[in-house]
Amino acid sequence: MTTAPPTPARARRGGRLLDWKLLVGVLVVGGLLALSLTTGVYDVFGAEDGSEMFAITRIPRTVALVLAGAAMAMSGLVMQLLTQNRFVEPTTTGTTEWAGLGLLTVMILFPGASISARMSGAVLAAFIGTMVFFLFLRRVTLRSSLIVPIVGIMLGAVVSAVSTFIALQTDMLQNLGVWFAGSFTSVLRGQYELLWIVALVAVAVFVVADRFTVAGLGQEISTNVGLNYNRVILLGTGLIAVATGVVTVIVGNLPFLGLIVPNVVSMLRGDDLRSNLPWVCLLGVGIVTVCDLIGRTVIMPFEVPVSLILGIVGAAVFILLLLRQRRRG
């Protein structure tokens, strides 16, 4: 392209990563996290052993909010790109249910299994389940965007029914209920540290962000620019499985988070993945923290699981998205 006229020297670059809006977002979420650190029944500032309680419960809980919120929101985003469907995320594709089944299986086969062994089981099952879902999508090529999450939710329901049946047979139904209800109540020092694994997932997503965006343009455009499409799908599935598996084991089910966050960010900023990722993380953390704060204060001194609040908020946003899409299309 040598004969084209010289380009005027104006600022012609893609989206910028950092700007003042992001700074405001960071400050707001930072404020929420500070609120999370100071909210609770125990008076950490007045009581004698306050600082120790602070270190045992409040810090781990807040760190967990950050890690789980960011990981689930990013998993949702990656999944939406890879399936080219706006309505999928780990809880609408059965990935979470598979993770639960994997966890249960390890618990039954090896009753004394360590938390890392349980986690491996969950991650492995989540990977297999997500691959099953992706292969199914490829085979039937249901491109109607609403069928895809319906199929996913059905698949999840079947897997979850299997888990319930196994749990009934082995007298573990109550445990199952506790695991599935996503809650940060039991996040304590000494029990949550493996959650840091998802920070690695987040870093990996940042590094390969562009590949996921290209894959989101479809197999043909990906191949055209020389991207190994199948390898990217495999990598994405792996990252989603690790994030979902780890979060499911330590926190539980966080419904709709991966659905609403990427959609809201995309509506506001378009889909330049690299510059959106900080926003997706931030919004994921923000929403989980708000929901957790509501869950902690609404019936104080007791708590309701964060998954309950997320379910209500998420379902409302999901319906809004559907209505919005119908008006558009």
Binding site: R12, R143, R211, G216, G218, I221, V225, G226, D271
Partner: protein
Amino acid sequence: MITLEGVRKKYSSEVAIGPVDLEIPKGGVTALVGPNGAGKSTLLTMVGRLLGIDEGTIEVAGYDVTSTPSKDLARIVSILRQENHFITRLTVRQLVAFGRFPYSQGRLTVEDEEVVSRAIDFLDLTDLENRYLDQLSGGQRQRAYVAMVLSQETEYVLLDEPLNNLDMRHSVQMMKHLRRAAEELGRTIVIVLHDINFAGHYADRICAVKDGSVVEFGTPAQIMTDEVLTRVFETPVTVVEGPNGPLAVYY
């Protein structure tokens, strides 16, 4: 040069492509024409390595498309399919920038940004570069896709029915852009066309495909005759002399 030798592809017991032997020389615009279902798009997708072949070899600029790494091919040949449907909400500039992926893997250098700007300017999209694709008309969106494959700076550009869904004005504009890309930028353009008259006027060579085989290959003057077109399209065609060259009349 694009060379196909004994290329075969079998779909089902009834539908099969080949054997195809074809040499498309370097430079200019080559149009693939033929009736529906003749295999034009299939041939093009096989040359662009989006579809595997059962037998034979396809070489683009001397590189075998089945054995050359896809990453390297992406700098030699680019292909744009007819339907590009995705949910990602991108601006024109972001889309065109993906044409630089084979060079930069997503981390655009200043040079990449310049190439992207040139491709955008080349297709008259300068004022639209920050608009989202879903805010554009069909013709503008099609130009954005073509800008993406041009920014890939490949010697060979394959386009599958880029005039589909375009009105007269936009079709003519698109063909003029493609001619300029061939003449000014020295690209070799292979294009599947539906309308024989567009091929007759804008192409340097026409390749007629029928029942999975290449039945004619020559200059527009050689192909634009009553006898050849009637045989290829299986419907009576009369070629008349129009104000700007021969025109096929078939209704």
